[in-house]
Symmetry: C2
Subunit: 309 residues, 2 copies
């Protein structure tokens, strides 16, 4: 099965497009899990990240189709952090979740090949099902990722319009009356189409997707229109400001075509109301579980995700 | 001392701007160092990379100011590869070389902070003196790198015009009569100026530099002109096609302002003439040494690098 088929199946079987972003930040992890350990202790802190992420995975694995691993949170701690990342990816896979390695990698062709072969697919060193890729270096820096992805039943998500306010600095510059993100989006669509199989009855989407920030509600319809054959990975929901209404345009009529990431809003639900008063730090896992269920409900009620079967 | 001052001092003390790119590719490493080990063996291959890189460092440490570590070559092998990368960075530092972590990282602000704090400066987990950064996500994704760099006496090099042919796909699109790389270059120049200290007599350059491919000889003068206060990291020399004449415009009148990367042409010199016949695989280190000295000579004879004192 291709990545696109795996993703469609996972989204349908859990009946939700919610993607849990594993961005473990030491300072936000419940005190009880990190007491006596310094935030900058590169030997001990990674094992706290690992334990926290595995606990989150235990909570969300029955509820959602996939998790996104933020590489920076682990790379912060050097190679010890990367061992923790490795362990967490493997644990998530064992629990039946699809895994997305979020490192926004990109380099000249011969180097891109190494990133791709190391990260993509169950047989690779990292064993991720998909990864995020930066488009700045152009076609020959992206093609090796596409090639490896299709060979390994894996996928990639190319940055198109990122969720951060500064994203518009270069992405919104206009060239030939089109924004740069529009140029990138049209290229991503081409790549996505190139990965479609004739016998692909299961889904209309290819193995090349796009990262499109939920925070740009006006642009989401434009991008959904261009990116007809690309899965959208949508960050920016929750803590970054977007809600279910904002992101409604990203889904097709069956509720497919997009996965919606939430990191802080789910992982650290215990720090914010209503979960804070209800569960507090001691029951942080219950807070995460309820926040995840609430997000699933919101998307079900206010978007076509409610039509998933 | 700031990174810019450290770099100027290192370039002057070795009298050359040659940057050795440590891009260890298992398949190119001398047979004798890898016999009996499979290229895809994620446990054993990293130790071969490490040994090879440390041997290269022994050869080039007396000759050049800095090395650039290509993260992808190590990340290919998962967390075991990252341990090797960690060891190689530390070994290069011990041997007195400045180290540039080439990972082209970039993410939203709060995540960029983690990359920056983990990679930049002697006190960080990775302990690199500088790193490469991708500009696609805009100002708020880059500022955390600048902040940490100046605090840690470290530097960053932002991708402006990359050496690969496909680089022009988005970088050369025109907006308001200027290419995207020109827009990025002007922003990098602003950042570089923002890091200049009043008492900075040693050098006119800041701690924010730019990656500018040697393969675009026509554009190098334009970029040198815009990037008056930025060190240029110039890949693409040698195997990628550029020669000393091509890159002459990147230096200022004192031979400062740019470092010229060569990876394959130096690391695997033994595979190509004239070194192949002269030294062969057995004396690969002598081949690397002579190729490095030849590159130093070429830059000395044909560019302002000859004026370094």
């Amino acid at each position: 099965m291709t990545f696109s088929q795996l993703l469609a199946e996972a989204v349908c079987s859990k009946c939700t497009p919610v993607l849990v972003g594993l961005d473990p930040k030491f300072e936000f992890i419940p005190e009880s899990m990190r007491s006596g350990i310094d935030a900058n202790d590169i030997w001990k802190a990674p094992s706290v990240l690992k334990r926290f992420c595995c606990n989150v995975i235990d909570v969300v694995a029955p509820l959602v189709p996939a998790v996104k691993l933020q590489a920076a949170c682990f790379e912060r701690y050097g190679s010890y952090g990367m061992i923790a990342l490795d362990n967490v990816i493997k644990y998530a896979s064992e629990k039946g979740l699809l895994t997305i390695f979020d490192g926004k990698r990109g380099d000249i062709g011969s180097t891109a090949e190494l990133y791709a072969s190391g990260i993509l697919g169950k047989n690779s060193a990292w064993g991720a099902d998909a990864m995020t890729v930066s488009p700045y270096m152009g076609a020959d820096s992206i093609e090796p990722f596409v090639k490896t992805a299709t060979e390994q039943n894996a996928g990639i998500f190319i940055l198109v319009k990122t969720s951060n306010p500064g994203g518009k600095m270069f992405q919104d510059l206009k060239s030939n009356r089109k924004t740069i993100y529009n140029h990138v989006a049209r290229y991503v669509q081409e790549l996505a189409v190139s990965t479609l199989k004739n016998n692909d009855n299961n889904t209309q989407y290819g193995d090349v997707g796009a990262v499109v920030g939920a925070t740009w509600s006006k642009e989401l319809s434009e991008l959904r229109e261009i990116l007809k054959s690309a899965w959208l990975l949508v960050p920016g929901y929750g803590s970054q400001g977007a809600n279910a209404e904002d992101i409604a345009p990203v889904f097709d009529k069956n509720g497919l075509g997009a996965i919606i990431n939430n990191s802080r809003g789910l992982l650290y639900a215990y720090k914010n109301e209503p979960y804070k008063s209800k569960y507090g730090e001691q029951k942080w896992e219950t807070a995460t579980e309820e926040a995840t269920k609430n997000m699933i409900e919101q998307l079900k009620n206010k978007t076509n995700a409610g039509k998933l079967t």
